[in-house]
């Protein structure tokens, strides 16, 4: 926290070296969080840039009530979800898309087309199916699952980022796992059997 305060003070003063330090420290974390949520490399890159712009513009408003990393994760998650909502809205209004959208049931998901670059080769296809299922989860379950499973944050850290209680995180992760089991079960019935 002391290091955070010192870094923030230097950033507000316009110290270029501190700025580079911050980017170096958080660029991969921000990019990977956005990538897991958006499941598109180009979109994740754009959002990563937006996150850092937002971070630098809002630094003076940062009250230090949470850790700097928590605050940056929070911005990354909210920017990514905001973008996803906008993209889904745009998609829904498309004429052709709306027809196919209506044909989709809640328990089904589209054929996986996102292959996370950080996944080991032998797990690529399985992980692609899992990411397609994650994409179908409600926002809060998706966020909790991604932060815990792919970003490796502890329950307490996830709770801080999402600004919810520890028990809420436990509940969200339990429900996320249940939903994923159901989605994957349906996928198995249709495609793997």
């Amino acid at each position: 926290m002391i290091e955070d305060t010192d870094l923030i003070r230097k950033l507000i003063e316009g110290d270029r070296i501190s700025f580079e330090k911050l980017v170096k420290q958080f660029k991969n974390k921000v990019f990977n969080t956005s990538l897991s949520i958006l499941q598109n490399v180009e979109d994740a890159e754009d959002i990563t840039q937006e996150v850092f712009v937002e971070v630098f513009q809002s630094l003076k408003n940062f009250k230090g009530e949470s850790k700097l990393s928590t605050w940056i994760y929070r911005i990354a998650v909210s920017k990514s979800l905001e973008f996803l909502r906008w993209k889904n809205r745009k998609k829904r209004f498309g004429f052709m898309q709306s027809l196919s959208y209506n044909n989709l049931t809640e328990s089904s998901f589209e054929i996986p087309n996102f292959f996370h670059p950080g996944i080991q080769l032998e797990n690529k296809e399985r992980a692609a199916i899992l990411f397609a299922a994650i994409h179908k989860l409600p926002e809060n379950q998706k966020t909790a699952f991604i932060l815990h499973k792919t970003e490796g944050l502890s329950y307490a850290e996830v709770a801080d980022v999402m600004q919810v209680t520890l028990s809420s995180v436990e509940s969200l992760l339990f429900r996320a796992k249940q939903s994923l089991q159901k989605l994957l079960g349906d996928y198995y019935e249709k495609n793997e059997k």
Binding site: I119, L130, L180, L184
Partner: protein, 96 residues
């Protein structure tokens, strides 16, 4: 555990050893060009403020004194007659 449950479990575990991806060089370049607001905080010490205020008062005072002195000189020059000038025009006194 049947085949389906096993498959589900393996799929759920497929992200367990996920590695954090490095950002591309293009993105790194874009991030290094992100301009951040340079907020200059000028911390002025209390005694510096008083010195600045005293300087302003002193400058204003010097100017005031200078203007007053200048006005006095002008008036004196207009009232006190020059001896040479008085002597030259002294004949006018005889005409009176």
């Amino acid at each position: 555990m049947n085949l389906k449950e096993n498959w589900i479990q393996e799929t759920l575990n497929s992200v367990d050893n996920i590695k954090r991806t490095e950002v591309s060089s293009q993105l790194a370049e874009r991030l290094s060009n992100v301009s951040f607001p340079k907020v200059k905080i000028i911390a002025m010490l209390p005694f510096v403020k008083w010195i600045a205020a005293a300087c302003i008062v002193l400058l204003a005072g010097i100017n005031l004194v200078s203007i007053t002195q200048y006005n006095k000189t002008i008036t004196t020059n207009q009232t006190v007659s020059n001896p040479v000038y008085s002597e030259y025009f002294s004949y006018l006194n005889t005409l009176k």
